[in-house]
């Protein structure tokens, strides 16, 4: 629980001087003003940090604790009299469980398919919108953004129906052209899920990248044009490198969300027998915690998932930083 402690001290630091103005002697008015400022700062920050401790730090600490301690009778939760330190037993159980490893592999496959596709499509559309050749640009942006206002579970419902033979006009049309696709079959199920996520988030990412493009200094682009670069060359060679921080941000958020993949497969699992209740790590955690009541296993699996997320995010940051320095060195 060391995380909790460090956070509460971090929180109490601005909170400490909050009581000061009442007791402080008035040696220097400047110092008093400084303390009053810190007091106000503490008051403005307190509600958020109370929440941070209560619904973030304590739960993360609890998850860590649960993953190392096990009750002899799982299902009773916090029975302190029967709780024993089990070391890495829960981790071993999770990491040797083929269904958990299968879930990790599923998400890895999903990420490999979805993240590059998302980043490339979003970047391409943002550059096209920025090229000035698009008619009704504001309307195009709004239409692309529209699915973001559709809740994830409803996006999954819409696409589930569009994947279901007998309900779906898409399957119907394809059948008339003598094409049969089983969208929820073994070969298509991961792309089908990626498509739902793509549909939901593409417009959001396009708008973030488009907004970042607006911040590219016009002189840079004009200089490229004067040097004889065509629109495609300008987009690829000039605008794209300048967009790198925004692209990295989009990739990071897409990665973090992808690691948590839950809603779409959970809904599809109602109709697709192929998607079992432990299809992704998040579904595995839910299943372990609330179906099997094995809190230690669920906690260990969630710590593993968290560690993977942090490691991958850190890897992405390091990799892009190194690419940046390499580029700078080359100049």
């Amino acid at each position: 629980m060391s995380t909790t402690v460090s956070a509460t001290t971090g929180d109490s630091r601005p909170a400490g001087p909050a009581r000061a103005p009442a007791t402080a002697a008035p040696p220097a008015s400047a110092r008093r003003a400084g303390r009053r400022r810190l007091g106000a700062c503490a008051l403005l920050m307190t509600p958020f940090f109370v929440l941070l401790v209560a619904v973030f730090l304590v739960p993360v600490g609890t998850a860590l604790w649960l993953s190392f301690f096990g009750a002899d009778q799982p299902g009773l939760g916090f029975g302190p009299e029967r709780t024993v330190f089990v070391g890495l037993r829960s981790y071993t159980a999770a990491l040797t469980d083929p269904t958990f490893l299968g879930g990790l592999a599923t998400v890895a496959l999903y990420c490999l398919l979805y993240i590059p596709l998302m980043v490339l499509c979003a970047l391409a559309l943002a550059l096209l919108l920025d090229s000035g050749a698009v008619r009704l640009r504001a309307w195009a942006q709004l239409s692309l953004f529209l699915p973001h206002a559709v809740p994830g579970i409803i996006a999954a419902i819409i696409w589930l129906y569009l994947y279901t033979p007998g309900l779906s006009p898409v399957v119907d049309l394809l059948a008339r052209a003598d094409i049969t696709v089983d969208f929820l079959g073994i070969n298509a199920v991961i792309p089908s899920i990626a498509n739902i996520a793509m549909w939901s988030n593409l417009g959001y990412n396009v708008i973030i990248l488009y907004a970042a493009l607006q911040a590219v200094p016009r002189e840079v682009i004009e200089a490229a044009v004067v040097d004889g670069a065509g629109p495609v060359r300008t987009a690829v060679r000039v605008k794209t490198p300048l967009l790198r921080p925004a692209v990295v941000m989009v990739a990071m958020f897409t990665l973090i969300w992808s690691m948590q993949l839950f809603t779409e497969p959970m809904l599809l699992s109602q109709s697709a027998p192929l998607i079992n209740s432990r299809f992704t790590p998040s579904m595995y955690i839910y299943d372990a915690a609330f179906t099997r009541n094995n809190y230690g296993l669920a906690a260990a699996a969630s710590v593993v998932l968290l560690a993977c997320t942090i490691a991958l995010s850190y890897g992405v940051t390091r990799w892009t930083n190194r690419a940046d320095t390499a580029e700078e060195a080359a100049r």
């Binding site: 601005p14 007091g39 106000a40 700062c41 403005l44 920050m45 509600p47 958020f48 929440l51 941070l52 619904v55 973030f56 739960p59 993360v60 600490g61 939760g77 559309l125 096209l128 920025d130 000035g132 050749a133 698009v134 239409s143 692309l144 529209l146 699915p147 973001h148 206002a149 559709v150 809740p151 994830g152 579970i153 409803i154 419902i157 589930l160 129906y161 309900l167 006009p169 549909w199 973030i208 907004a211 607006q214 911040a215 682009i221 004009e222 300008t234 973090i256 948590q260 809603t263 809904l267 109602q270 109709s271 998040s282 955690i285 839910y286 915690a289 809190y295 969630s302 968290l306 997320t309």
Partner: protein, 286 residues
């Protein structure tokens, strides 16, 4: 923008290609929504014969009537729950996050950046990691299966703090605060009377994104709630959809219910467009 210079205009052929690609993307995003509208407007037989484009059989009103009559009017209850969780939660959450972001921007104290790093780290942690401990904590204080079990955790919005800091830097000049101090206004008074007003668009942006997140929230209610009367729309539709695999009479209400559940967010995004656009710009430009 850059297109205003004639030299930058692509040739006609390129323009057609560009418009085709963007047009296809727009169709990709719009057609499923259109399908939802048509499916909700048609009667059951048309839905099952995937025959939605034929004219006639317009029965949206009847479908909505069926929806609100299903299971003793449960849907109306879910809708109100969702509005309560999302609107009240996002309003309080946005105020809390923006205040904290403002304090991060305008005040200096030791280890400030480390603390801010902790806030950013919180963005990264999956909901699934927090759900089980939150459930155990809630059950420890007897809050499982209550309104508060869902309402309190969704107030937490670290990304809102990040946005709040950026907005505060962009919209609230330090000179204004100095002027307020010279006038003898207290620190909190100048926040609530002066800075908060300037932060208005930022608060609206944070509110809107949090509204979306809470309205979409599915995992936490699923973990916390077992009483159907407390469900938000997302969880309710999930429950009905799983009933539909057994009893198909639920399909039409799931479709109509989905359409109605999309309406508030689309309205909010359309009405508040100018705010969230500036919000996304601020977040991306940084």
């Amino acid at each position: 923008m850059s297109a205003t210079t004639p030299a930058l205009r692509p040739r006609a052929l390129g323009r057609t290609a560009v418009n085709t690609v963007v047009g296809i993307s727009v169709l990709y995003t719009l057609l499923p929504v259109l399908w939802l509208v048509l499916a909700a407007a048609k009667n059951r037989d048309a839905l099952f014969s995937s025959d939605l484009l034929s004219a006639g059989d317009f029965s949206l009103a009847a479908n909505i009537g069926d929806l609100f009559a299903m299971d003793g009017g449960l849907y109306g209850r879910w809708y109100l729950n969702s509005l309560l969780y999302a609107v009240v939660g996002a309003a309080i959450g946005a105020l809390i996050s923006t205040a904290c972001g403002y304090a991060f921007d305008k005040y200096r104290f030791r280890h400030k950046e480390k603390l801010f790093g902790l806030v950013l780290a919180a963005v990264m942690v999956p909901q699934t990691v927090l759900a089980l401990p939150l459930y155990l904590m809630a059950s420890g204080v007897g809050m499982v299966n209550t309104f508060w079990a869902v309402f309190v955790p969704v107030l937490f919005n670290p990304f809102g703090v990040y946005l709040g800091r950026i907005f505060s830097r962009g919209y609230v000049p330090d000179e204004v605060l100095e002027a307020a101090r010279v006038d003898g206004a207290g620190e909190l008074a100048s926040y609530f009377r002066v800075a908060l007003r300037m932060l208005g668009p930022g608060v609206v942006t944070v509110f809107l994104f949090q509204l979306t997140a809470i309205w979409n929230n599915f995992f936490l209610p699923m973990v916390m709630l077992s009483d159907q009367q407390l469900y938000p729309v997302s969880l309710g539709l999930f429950a009905w959809n799983s009933s539909a695999t057994v009893s198909p009479e639920y399909y039409p209400v799931v479709v109509t219910g989905s359409l109605l559940a999309v309406v508030p967010l689309i309205l909010a995004f359309m009405l508040l467009q100018r705010f969230w656009r500036s919000g996304l710009t601020a977040g991306a430009v940084k």
